[in-house]
């Protein structure tokens, strides 16, 4: 092939590097890495919506469904990570498909807040359900991997490997998808829905597809998060401030490249971890300040730094 896709090459390099790094990383690094991959996946879904001109303030809904679906299956005796993550992903995708029939009719702030409303319904249901541990949540047992049952540190190592492989597949898939006609129609719908209709395609259908897609990857991220933390609870899985974090990460990353969402998620994770550790009184202040700085100095996100570097070189 004459044409080499730089993004695919970049993602592949990052994949291989992280694959090897998995065996040398300190435990806390792997933990942050896992969380970044999980949150980055949700931000990837938001990126797809964002390019279509839509922002959701409620994707904790799909994150939460993915996490709880995976966690609940462990309660009834399923422990295989492949099955749990697949089930979490599909459960969220199914919900997104159903809610999509309503949400595809809304735009702008109505779309954003309607998503939040649905996510808070889930939050309310979880909090009221004693069987699911209410506000305390419940712990998720250690998963197995196609019969392999790792112990000790090997659990996280294997989970990281597992997550890495699927995240790589999903991310390359999304990147290639964005280059298809259907993927490219994000632009068309964002710019001019009337024209899309008069070219003979339904703008709402385009939005619905994007929405289901964002639900699937958010569910994937949620299921991974449940396994990584070994615990699900409504406040860190389904509350509206979790949705806010995903939007935060998306702004941080910018929507220029699929890989950026993971960098954004990692930066977010690091800022939060260190701010919380070194300035426990004012860590939210630091988080807010960094968001402000990004919006003021890098309105197109971290990815625009790379574009700037490229421009100054060439």
């Amino acid at each position: 092939m004459r044409y080499v896709d730089k993004t695919v090459v970049g993602l592949s390099i990052a994949f291989v590097v992280l694959l090897f790094a998995d065996f040398f990383m300190a435990e806390w690094m792997r933990f942050i890495g896992l969380q970044s991959l999980a949150r980055g996946a949700v931000a990837l879904g938001l990126l797809v919506l964002w390019r279509t001109g839509l922002v959701s303030f409620g994707h904790a809904l799909y994150f939460g469904i993915g996490a709880y679906a995976a966690a609940m299956l462990t309660l009834v005796g399923y422990h295989d990570a492949f099955f749990l993550v697949l089930a979490g992903t599909l459960a969220s995708g199914l919900l997104a498909f159903l809610l999509g029939f309503l949400l595809r009719r809304y735009r702008a702030i109505f779309f954003a807040l309607l998503n939040m409303a649905f996510s808070m319904i889930l939050y309310g249901v979880i909090v009221k359900t004693e069987e699911l541990g209410s506000t305390d949540g419940f712990s998720v047992l250690t998963p197995t991997f196609l019969g392999y049952a790792p112990q000790g540190e090997a659990v996280q190592t294997t989970l990281f490997l597992f997550t890495l492989v699927f995240t790589y597949i999903v991310t390359v898939g999304v990147h290639l998808y964005l280059k298809t006609t259907l993927g490219g129609m994000s632009m068309a719908v964002r710019e001019n829905e009337i024209r899309v209709e008069y070219l003979g395609y339904s703008a709402e259908k385009v939005i619905h597809v994007k929405y289901v897609f964002s639900g699937l990857v958010a569910g994937f991220g949620g299921a991974i998060m449940a396994l990584a933390i070994g615990q699900v609870d409504p406040d860190s899985m389904a509350n509206w401030n979790v949705s806010g974090e995903f939007v935060f990460i998306t702004i941080l990353s910018g929507i220029g490249n699929v890989g950026a969402t993971y960098i954004g998620a990692l930066v977010f994770e690091l800022i939060r971890t260190y701010a919380f550790e070194y300035a426990p009184q004012v860590w939210q202040f630091i988080l807010g300040g960094s968001l402000l700085a990004i919006i003021m100095f890098l309105p197109d996100g971290i990815w625009s730094l790379i574009d700037r570097l490229r421009k100054s070189e060439g």
Binding site: N192, E197, L199, G200
Partner: protein, 270 residues
């Protein structure tokens, strides 16, 4: 002559306002029809109803022997009626090339084809030849929002023509265009559409344009068609002169009949 579009007893009311009343039109293949009338006469309402943007209150619209009443614009577009807009509807922050590439992609792809790459060399070649036919190739890489009005109009019409429709309805193709540019613009559009053998209906306020490009005129007044006749006949019709052209201010009957002109028309704001 083959009838491609038949509109019968079309009505549209918005509350107490009658926007269209007793509209009866038969359009034959390859006709070039001008739609004239003062602002608010119901011209755009007519186009909006035929293309599915507005649902008529009652009546029948038949296209190629098929009832298209109540279908959404996308279905009507896919059946073969396209339109352009008075205010160009383009993908503003994208390049001219990307605008047309997307128009081709949406027109050409369906089903699983939507998952094939947006860009391919054959499609790019089609886009480039389309750009040449509409004489906007020099703006290929310019962002749509930076285009001069005339070029943006051409882009809008070029996008509508991508699907090679049976009927193309143009909503005021020359509005907002300077007097010197109008004929050049219309020459480009009409030549391209003539090659495609497209049936054209266009809304126009400038009677000079109507006289030059149109074989038949539909004159609207207060939601009704007050005259449906060959151009020369329509422009001397007393109703048209009174309600559309505005006789007392402008040229005489003979001048209009001879196809000459001496300036501005009744509701042309230029």
């Amino acid at each position: 002559m083959t009838v491609v579009l038949e509109v019968r007893d079309l009505q549209k009311t918005f509350g107490a306002v009658v926007a269209a009343k007793d509209i009866n039109v038969t359009v034959n293949e390859h006709e070039i029809i001008g739609i004239i009338g003062a602002n608010g006469a119901g011209k755009t309402t007519f186009v909006n109803m035929v293309t599915g943007y507005l649902k008529p209150t009652s009546g029948h619209i038949e296209f190629a022997g098929r009832n298209i009443m109540g279908l959404p614009p996308r279905d009507i577009t896919n059946l073969g009626i396209s339109r352009s807009f008075q205010v160009p509807q383009v993908f503003t922050s994208e390049s001219v090339f990307d605008n047309l590439q997307m128009a081709y992609a949406i027109t050409e792809a369906s089903g699983m084809g939507l998952l094939s790459p947006l860009y391919n060399d054959e499609r790019a070649a089609r886009v480039d030849s389309h750009l040449k036919r509409y004489q906007i190739a020099e703006y290929r890489n310019a962002t749509a929002s930076t285009l001069p009005q005339g070029v943006r109009k051409l882009l809008d019409i070029a996008m509508a023509a991508v699907s090679n429709p049976t009927i193309l309805m143009l909503d005021e193709p020359t509005s907002g265009i300077s007097v010197e540019e109008k004929f050049g613009l219309m020459d480009i559009i009409m030549e391209a559409l003539r090659q495609d053998e497209t049936t054209v209906l266009f809304i126009e306020h400038d009677m000079e344009i109507v006289e030059r490009y149109v074989s038949r005129v539909l004159a609207f007044y207060q939601g009704e068609i007050i005259c449906d006749a060959p151009t020369a006949e329509a422009l001397v019709d007393s109703g048209v002169r009174e309600f559309v052209i505005g006789e007392e201010y402008h040229r005489t009957r003979t001048e209009a009949a001879n196809g000459q002109s001496n300036g501005q028309e009744g509701d042309d704001n230029a």
